[in-house]
């Protein structure tokens, strides 16, 4: 197998899109670690599964960026939530925000790469993220639960 630098068609535009997605994944992980303390017990398993999904995506992006010789962006020490998280409802609402931001980032990766493998991976992330987003939108009762155009700006 040739070196990643030779086999990859992930160009600087795609790498920048991946960095944006990584930043969104960092933020999502921070959000889930925050809201676990506020969510009702019945939603904890889902939140932990969602957190793990973001952890896997973060790792995959970091590995891909490293393979193409790009230094992955780091997480911020903390993030500002649009509204204070004080209870289960506000915790679920910020999960919706984090998932929505991640959907936008992944759709942007789809749009900013012609590398077929990366496009497929980003499409999978967009699809799986849409289900996560829908579940939290259902919790906060934001119809339609499933966004019609996931990731659309």
């Amino acid at each position: 197998m040739s070196s990643p630098g030779n086999s990859s068609t992930i160009d600087p535009t795609a790498a920048a899109a991946l960095q944006d997605a990584l930043a969104a994944e960092h933020a999502a992980l921070w959000v889930y670690s925050l809201i676990l303390a506020f969510l009702p017990a019945a939603q904890l398993d889902r939140a932990r599964a969602d957190e793990e999904a973001h952890r896997v995506l973060r790792g995959a992006i970091e590995q891909t960026l490293t393979q193409i010789g790009t230094r992955p962006v780091s997480a911020q020490p903390a993030y500002a939530t649009p509204k204070p998280v004080t209870d289960g409802a506000s915790a679920a609402a910020v999960a919706v925000v984090a998932e929505t931001d991640a959907l936008a980032a992944w759709r942007s990766v789809v749009e900013r790469t012609t590398d077929r493998g990366l496009r497929q991976a980003a499409l999978t992330a967009l699809t799986e993220g849409t289900l996560r987003c829908a579940q939290w939108r259902a919790v906060v009762n934001t119809p339609p639960a499933i966004p019609t155009f996931p990731g659309r700006p």
Partner: protein, 140 residues
Amino acid sequence: MLLAPPALAGCSFGSSTKDPGPDPLIALAAAARADAALAAAVVAATPELADRLTPLRTARTDHATALDAEVARLAPGATPAPAPGTATPAGTPVTAAAVQAAVLASGKAASAAALTLPAERVGLVASVAACCATYAAVLA
């Protein structure tokens, strides 16, 4: 690894030597209309399914509108798409399971198209694919 640089680097996007054929978004728009019509037929036959299927019907109608607009953008003056109908393909059972199967197939078709579309068109189709796959997942 999910995002590892693929062994598909030799694959190029599009080909100037090949007939591009009809706009692939035409078929995706038709599928969106068909899914919406099937969902409407199922709700008409089984009104208690309205809560489950009406959001899907609305989403697929909106998908058809957006896809039609994108088709028209690249081919202004082309034959306008048929208006949304209420007829469902003959032989399709009028059940929630049939709607699930239809939207699953539509999502797969959109996903496949998204792998080769140019950048300025792929976002819409990717969103349609993700939306369809998610409806298929929650209806399963």
